[in-house]
């Protein structure tokens, strides 16, 4: 969290009243997003998202065969670990990032335990009640310049779209309980239902009625009075929402914020899906892909 003087806050808020932001964007514009998939050779799926050349998130997925939970025997498990490394902000040094990490992790868990992603979790099941895939999704915040929720959810979704799992063969045993599995290390498959995965959109209110902005920079975030983060599924449903900030939001503003968040979410989903489709097609066809690299 950056500390701004009252005058600086006043500048941002007064600008917001007139629909002007310091980097020239309109209220609901988002900064340019850089998305690169399959950046980590040691992970089964990975993605890196940068927003406005500042916020920087790296996500890697490691699959493992495990036992499903008793409550959901026909579903696989998606577990999240978010690490706010002290690289990203001096606030994260020591245990400073722990609260934020927990908050980010909770939101992701909320999005991926929602009924919206039930089919995705079901596709991770191997033998009902006995074996399933558990996807360990590790996210690393390398640099934070606002809109962490949005960047993080985007990176996780992209990584899930490109993750490949080894084919698993079920060898039937004599009794029902004796089924065994064999992991085929030669053949891989992608996750069909990963396109159901949602993203999160954050809108921050700047104190005045009906005034709110999307994709805040950290300066804008630190003088926002309240914000809403909403998970948007590809069908436009809300699949988890949380608020932040102590300002409170009146009902009418909140209502229109939710509508705009859903709209914006669908636009972002559409744009990233178009990109990911060409990206995946290129990789499948073996076309040469020029990596963006870490320091582009």
């Amino acid at each position: 969290m950056q500390f701004l003087s009252d005058a600086e806050c006043e500048y941002i808020r007064n600008g917001a009243k007139d629909g002007i932001r310091s980097d020239g964007r309109a209220m609901l514009d988002i900064r340019p997003v850089t998305l690169e998939t399959t950046v980590l050779p040691t992970a089964s799926g990975s993605a890196r998202v940068r927003i406005g050349k500042v916020t920087d998130i790296l996500v890697g997925i490691k699959p493992e065969v495990a036992e499903p939970s008793q409550d959901f025997p026909d579903e696989g498990i998606i577990s999240f670990t978010v690490e706010c490394s002290s690289l990203a902000s001096p606030d994260f040094v020591g245990r400073g990032g722990a609260d934020l990490s927990a908050e980010l992790g909770q939101l992701l868990t909320r999005l991926y335990t929602s009924p919206v992603t039930r089919e995705l979790r079901r596709s991770l099941s191997i033998i009902k009640g006995k074996k399933c895939w558990i996807l360990h999704i590790d996210a690393l915040v390398l640099d934070s310049g606002g809109n962490l929720f949005g960047a993080l959810s985007l990176a996780v979704r992209a990584a899930l779209r490109v993750v490949i799992l080894p084919r698993v063969i079920v060898i039937p045993g004599e009794a029902d309980d004796d089924d065994e599995i064999e992991v085929d290390e030669e053949e891989f498959k992608m996750l069909e239902r990963s396109r159901d995965a949602p993203i999160a959109v954050t809108l921050a209110s700047q104190g005045d009625r009906g005034i709110y902005m999307a994709d805040c920079t950290s300066e804008e975030e630190s003088c926002a009075t309240a914000s809403i983060t909403m998970g948007v599924s590809p069908l436009g449903k809300s699949c988890g929402a949380v608020s932040a900030g102590t300002g409170g939001i009146d009902l009418d503003t909140l209502s229109s914020m939710l509508k705009d968040a859903a709209q914006l979410g669908l636009e972002i989903l559409d744009a990233t899906d178009r990109f990911l489709k060409t990206d995946i097609d290129n990789r499948m066809s073996g076309a040469p892909i020029v990596p963006i690299g870490f320091f582009s």
Binding site: D99, A102, E103, G105, Q106, R110, S114, P115, V116, A226, I228, M230, S233, G236, K237, S238, C239, G240, A241, V242, S243, A244, G245, T246, G247, G248, I249, D250, L251, L254, S255, L258, K259, A262
Partner: protein
């Protein structure tokens, strides 16, 4: 469903009580009817202020300690620390309330959520160098536990005489199919497609805390928030009544009949 401590309790009938006869729920309530509510303040002797909230099978104790001098750093504004815990016997799955000091991730998230809601109304600028500790304990969670925590904590803060600009109440709405269900029981929460929880500041008519779980249509979501606010406003009315009653009693004890 847990036993109800005191009766008769305040029962709130929703507006649709007469018109929506066919939508009667498992426990006989209408879709927009809250469970009977019981509130009490000042029942803990060692705390500066305390509040108890009971709605159906949900029972919350909340204590406020302070404002007292902060042992750590000097701060211009006062600081507030919240601690929300579910008892192991609260009947809520996955809740911690276990031995030792470690809170579950969820409890940690809810604690900071409570802190934000309360901080929106507490005049922390009037408590320099001080800290206020709010601890809430969920004895029994028969649905809508966290919403009830918000209410109990507001009561406790008011009882402690902490300066506030507003009073907050929480409420939950579950979306089951196409139907919105106010103040769901634990069973209703379990079968719901999604739930919406709102912390509401009644004087300013502002939503201070919002959380949604599961899957909810956008239109349902917006409607649910409105319904939550109406329900919270009803609860706020009762809270004020409860606090005024306590204050009158206190004045009477000191031989003054009027404020």
């Amino acid at each position: 469903m847990g036993a109800i401590t005191y009766g008769p309790l305040v029962r709130i009938d929703g507006e649709g009580a007469k018109t929506k006869e066919r939508d009667v729920r498992e426990d006989g309530r209408r879709w927009d009817e809250l469970r009977p509510i019981y509130m009490r303040v000042g029942m803990l002797s060692t705390a500066t202020g305390s509040g108890y909230f009971e709605g159906g099978g949900t029972k919350i104790f909340c204590a406020v300690h302070g404002p007292r001098p902060s042992a750590s750093n000097y701060t211009i504004d006062g600081t507030m620390h919240c601690d929300v815990r579910w008892a192991q016997f609260s009947g809520r799955e996955g809740a911690a309330g276990r031995q030792g000091d470690s809170m579950s991730e969820e409890e940690r998230e809810l604690s900071s959520s409570l802190q934000r809601t309360l901080a929106s109304a507490v005049r922390l600028e009037n408590y320099p160098k001080c800290r206020i500790d709010v601890s809430a304990f969920v004895l029994e969670d028969g649905g809508g536990g966290f919403a009830a925590v918000t209410t109990a904590a507001s009561l406790a803060l008011a009882d402690a005489g902490v300066e506030m600009t507003d009073i907050m109440a929480g409420s939950t709405v579950a979306v089951i199919g196409k139907q919105l269900v106010v103040d769901p029981s634990a069973r209703e929460e379990a079968i719901a497609d999604g739930t919406v929880r709102v912390g509401f500041a009644s004087q300013r008519a502002k939503v201070t805390d919002l959380m949604q779980n599961g899957e909810v249509d956008l239109e349902q979501f917006r409607e649910a928030i409105k319904v939550c606010c109406t329900a919270s406003a009803q609860v706020c009315g009762l809270m004020k009544e409860c606090l005024v009653k306590k204050a009158k009693k206190w004045l009477k004890k000191r031989g003054r009949s009027e404020m």
